[in-house]
Symmetry: C2
Subunit: 278 residues, 2 copies
């Protein structure tokens, strides 16, 4: 069946979200049994056109969006239109992606890898740092302190797995509204990079533009987090955690508005002051 | 100059520890300037026998130990004796390693990569999971609750960069003592995997055996953290954070004694109960 002429083609997707937590036995300092809910963590090996690319360890909440977003953020796929299907099969811990035209510059990109911060050893294939000069964030967007507070208030109602089980990071995509701030997506995963990749994938699936959005993360503002936010075209990055030196340097270089240590009514504005209004 | 016959050869090391924090300008919710101390973060590209292997993003506190421990934990080098020299040059962001006999099974190991949890996308080259069956931890070691409390008390006095600048993870190598617990090493880095790798490297440099030690981390008990602890031969793993499902499953499989959510006088014992005494 062909899509209507001119309409973007959507990949054929499985819907293989997993149960997010399991309960294990533990004992406390009194020797009492304490059934403890923990986050799931599963290997998901990514095959593209039958070629094995990488194994991601994931909570499994949004494996299709994660796969698409990982390919997007690694710049291995240029648009959603290039992806024909994404099929997750947890029985074998694999996701099979079929593309229409193969991966972009696969040999060069998959040949070199940078183990980035995040965890200190995240992975970006290819010369990501070489490409930041090409990023242009919109200069005319504004974020008000009022919207920032509304965002911080809104995210406190999410973070469900974290509250239950800990050991996960959450990311949110939000949009300013007249009466505050709307959370459009909230994704948790055992790794912060997975959560941001899943949001990047879902943004493609929902045809969302980043230029009027805010990206929120529970995790640290590392170089990788800054670069991925900017690659999604999002000019605002907010975290309740701190930042690293390279995250700060890159945010200043590309003119990202970056706010950290955001808790309650407190925050620190680290870069991109010109877009922020108190 | 030859070493005394029979003595282990020590690699020729640079001593290129960097300043750990920098102070950047920021403004708070009142618009007041707040000079903010943040953790350093620098790319360090690892060359072995002139071949580029990987780029690590690191705080730079212990780059030589990090390099050696990374090679150890990736099983690319079988013993310290195989490393002739480790020379860090921050001017070019590179560390040059010279081996005596090349890397172990380099083509196979560097050809496949698993992006592990930690951050969700850490990196372990080669089939690490295939090797956990070969790990045997000593059954006769014991950890008492008293020693655990002494450890938790001792680590509170460390974590200097974290207190100053946030955004780092700390790992400690500790040993039970009659009157409590001694911290033998404490390493902080922008990534928890770097911190554990740096300890693994320093253990080799100091000829330390892991079987009577305790490994402490501020970070989550992920599969990668469990495997690396076990590979160092350490039977006890303690964290103030939670754990992931795969971390728990592997700890049970290899019989690691694992304690999480350790704060003040509270903790949860997750596995390896037979080595723990209350």
């Amino acid at each position: 069946m062909s899509p209507p002429s001119g309409a973007p083609r959507r990949p054929l997707l499985s819907h293989a979200s997993r149960p997010l937590t399991v309960t294990i036995p533990a004992t406390n300092e009194l020797g009492e049994p304490v059934p403890t809910e923990i986050a799931g963590e599963f290997p998901l090996t990514l095959y593209v056109d039958r070629r094995e690319i990488v194994t991601l360890m994931t909570l499994g909440a949004a494996p299709e969006a994660l796969t698409i977003g990982w390919l997007r953020n690694q710049r291995l796929v240029a648009s959603l239109d290039d992806i024909e299907s994404v099929q997750v099969d947890w029985d074998v811990g694999a996701v099979a992606v079929t593309t229409r035209h193969g991966l972009v510059d696969a040999e060069a990109r998959l040949g070199s890898r940078t183990v980035t911060t995040g965890c200190g050893q995240g992975t970006v294939f290819g010369g990501l740092m070489d490409e930041i000069d090409a990023i242009h964030l919109p200069a005319d967007r504004r974020l008000s302190q009022e919207t920032l507070y509304a965002l911080m208030d809104a995210v406190r109602h999410y973070e469900s797995i974290y509250k239950q089980a800990g050991a996960v990071h959450g990311c949110a995509l939000a949009a300013p509204r007249d009466d505050g701030c709307e959370i459009l997506m909230f994704v948790e995963d055992v790794g912060r990079h997975n959560a941001v990749d899943a949001i990047a994938g879902q943004m493609w699936l929902d045809s969302l533009d980043g230029s009027d959005k805010i990206f929120y993360t529970t995790g640290r503002l590392t170089s990788e987090m800054v670069i991925k936010t900017a690659q999604m075209g999002i000019p605002f990055l907010v975290s309740r955690s701190g930042l690293t030196q390279m995250g700060w340097e890159i945010a200043r270089k590309i003119g990202l508005t970056m706010i950290g240590r955001a808790q309650g009514k407190h925050y620190l504005l680290f870069s991109g002051e010109e877009r922020f209004t108190r």
